[in-house]
């Protein structure tokens, strides 16, 4: 073995925590119990039920792949899966597009901490009304004779009402972006607020202009916030059904809507298949997002 060239006084010393004694494990018991009963068991049950035999009027615990085969050979279900992924990607992009500049303003350019908090609280105010009301409120805004069309026609910008505004992909995307944007703004603004202002001054002093500093310093340092925000938005959008039900006129069917209708018509096995597919999709999305940034290192 050779001696290291430099005496290393900085390597983090190997910290050995005393082994958790059996007594300490009781601290996690309530949590483990709760999660087992209400999360792990239901998920296991859902996977199990997805293999049950579904007939028109009843369901039997005879194991079969029939529901899975039906799901993956049906245009309706695959279409719903594709729509879910498409809407999710678009909403992710729009929340980022709308949320990042807002977060940049609140987290970086508002120097006053009180004002920063006030602005973030303002973002949360829409949450004081119920989810359904927030969704339904978009109808009188976007409808054929809704506020937006009325104003555009009064101003003479359009002669015919724009019909694509409501009961379309667009209305679902507009609604979801508005509802989930704040989950993007929050984590990003938090990360940006943690950037030491002198780091940005140092970059300026070294001769870099604003866009260069944004690309090389601000964006990389805010990535953990983007990833956390993207996880929030993804998990919520992938499991969505209410916004598309209320604003798409049943034209946009997400996996969530499929599950709701299948459960409504007591097709438990199909609902379970859709549920498992959705869970796997979410798991995959979160896993990929966590690959982007090592959150343990950054937070």
């Amino acid at each position: 073995m050779t001696m290291p060239h430099l005496v290393d006084d900085t390597a983090p010393a190997a910290v050995t925590l005393p082994k958790a004694r059996a007594g300490n494990l009781w601290l996690v018991a309530p949590g483990v119990l709760w999660m087992t009963l209400f999360l792990v068991l239901p998920i296991a049950m859902m996977v199990y039920v997805s293999f049950w035999t579904q007939t028109t009027f009843k369901i039997e615990p005879t194991l079969t792949l029939q529901s899975w085969i039906t799901f993956f050979s049906s245009d309706t279900y695959l279409g719903a899966l594709w729509t879910t992924i498409r809407i999710w990607l678009i909403v992710l992009a729009t929340t980022l597009l709308v949320g990042y500049p807002a977060a940049l303003f609140v987290g970086l350019f508002v120097k006053n901490k009180t004002l920063q908090t006030v602005l973030l609280v303002l973002c949360v105010i829409p949450f004081w009304t119920s989810f359904l009301i927030r969704v339904l409120a978009w109808r009188p805004m976007l409808g054929k004779e809704g506020a937006i069309n009325l104003i555009l026609m009064k101003l003479g910008i359009v002669s015919q009402p724009i019909e694509v505004l409501l009961f379309s992909d667009l209305s679902v995307i507009i609604g979801m972006t508005q509802i989930y944007c704040v989950f993007m703004v929050g984590p990003i603004a938090f990360m940006l607020g943690r950037i030491d202002p002198s780091i940005i001054e140092a970059a300026q002093d070294l001769g870099a202009g604003f866009w260069r500093i944004f690309r090389t310093i601000i964006l990389p340092l805010s990535m953990p916030g983007v990833v956390v925000g993207a996880i929030f938005v993804s998990v919520m959008v992938l499991g969505e059904f209410a916004t598309s039900a209320a604003l798409s006129g049943r034209k946009v069917n997400l996996l969530g809507n499929i599950i709701v209708t299948q459960v409504g018509s007591l097709k438990w096995a199909f609902a379970a298949v859709a549920g498992v597919v959705l869970t796997i999709l979410m798991g995959a999305v979160v896993a990929v997002l966590l690959r982007v940034v090592d959150l343990r290192k950054e937070l």
């Binding site: 140092a202 002093d205 070294l206 001769g207 202009g209 090389t216 310093i217």
Partner: protein, 357 residues
């Protein structure tokens, strides 16, 4: 010696208080300048105004002959080393140092080979060889200091501003970095303006020492002049080595609240008449000892002493309750012992005193 930086009547106001109240100065090229001031004297503000992070309300800043007041920081060509180093936390040592070269708006270096060579030379200059690929959270305080310095120096600024660069280091490292900083500066041949609140650091490091007091430059000179002939009672107070006695000049003597003192040494004008005598110019005698010719003195009651290794600092209270400090060097004498609460005669040569009146 040619001057590289000129400030004329620079004013910076925060609300009602003036952080800089008409600062004028002129800094020589290729030298080490230390700027001494107590906390709140405006020294960090002065640096930030020169660097361009703050806009002055009035005045003129000239750098290498051209006015730079209106330029943004990234166009000034002045390097800034932050007190907390402000390293880019997501970049390695090497990437931190290369940042300015590749990302500056004016004349960026696009040739990867040139960048690598310059960064390698700079890493060798500041003594960081072997740590190129480390993350900046994986190196020690002294190494971070070197990265911060290298990151600035590699862009070849004509002047480097250092904001209490040694403040975040432990005492041992601080002394080592002092000589290191001076030798790095000599190798680069640029002007360093080093801000500090420590008088020993300012005197040890600066070819020229500036003293900032209440938002103005109180004195500019070499270390010896500043230490031996502070231009005002305030400067003498920062130096932390003068006993200051307020009073009035009356004929050939200085009447203070603790007694009448003989005049002799340098006299300078000041608003508040003050008599200053250095800690190490005073000798401690028995209470009734006679004063020799050319000497003057007062009586004090011994309270306590502090052993610092090379010297002993003895503290006395005077008639008006103020504290009088005497430093006795131990190189030629064993430490003497004094009786607590006993009275002694404190004597010094008249010509050693500085009088402001």
């Amino acid at each position: 010696m040619t001057a590289v930086l000129h400030l004329r009547n620079v004013v910076k106001q925060y609300g009602d208080s003036r952080a800089l109240d008409g600062v004028s100065l002129s800094l020589p090229d290729n030298s080490y300048i230390s700027l001494l001031g107590p906390s709140g004297s405006g020294k960090t503000t002065l640096l930030r105004v020169i660097a361009g992070f703050e806009q002055p309300e009035a005045g003129e800043i000239r750098f290498q002959g051209a006015r730079i007041d209106a330029l943004p920081p990234h166009q000034r060509g002045i390097g800034f080393v932050f007190q907390n180093f402000a390293l880019f936390p997501h970049l390695s040592v090497e990437q931190n140092i290369a940042f300015g070269l590749t990302n500056r708006a004016i004349d960026p270096v696009t040739d990867g080979e040139v960048v690598r060579r310059k960064v390698k030379d700079m890493i060798a200059l500041v003594g960081l060889t072997g740590l190129e690929d480390r993350g900046v959270s994986q190196i020690s305080g002294g190494q971070k200091q070197r990265v911060a310095l290298a990151r600035t120096l590699v862009t070849e600024p004509k002047m480097v501003l250092l904001d209490e660069p040694l403040g975040a280091l432990d005492a041992n490292l601080r002394t080592r970095m002092r000589s290191e900083l001076r030798s790095i500066r000599e190798r680069c041949g640029v002007t360093f303006l080093h801000v500090t609140g420590s008088e020993t650091e300012a005197l040890a490091m600066g070819d020229t020492v500036l003293v900032l007091d209440r938002a103005r430059i109180a004195q500019q000179g070499d270390a010896d002049t500043i230490y031996n002939r502070p231009s005002s009672p305030a400067v003498a107070r920062f130096l932390n080595c003068y006993n200051l006695l307020p009073g009035q000049v009356s004929g050939e003597s200085f009447v203070s609240s603790v007694g009448t003192l003989g005049l002799g040494g340098l006299r300078q004008t000041a608003a508040n008449p003050t008599y200053a005598i250095r800690y190490d110019r005073v000798s401690i005698r028995a209470k009734d000892a006679a004063l020799a010719d050319g000497e003057t003195g007062i009586d004090g009651t011994f309270i306590a002493s502090e052993y610092t290794g090379s010297a002993v600092n003895a503290f006395f209270t005077l008639a008006d309750g103020s504290i009088f400090e005497v430093e006795q060097h131990l190189s030629h004498a064993a430490p003497s012992t004094f009786e607590p609460q006993a009275a002694y005669r404190l004597a010094w040569k008249k010509e050693d005193a500085l009088v402001y009146a």
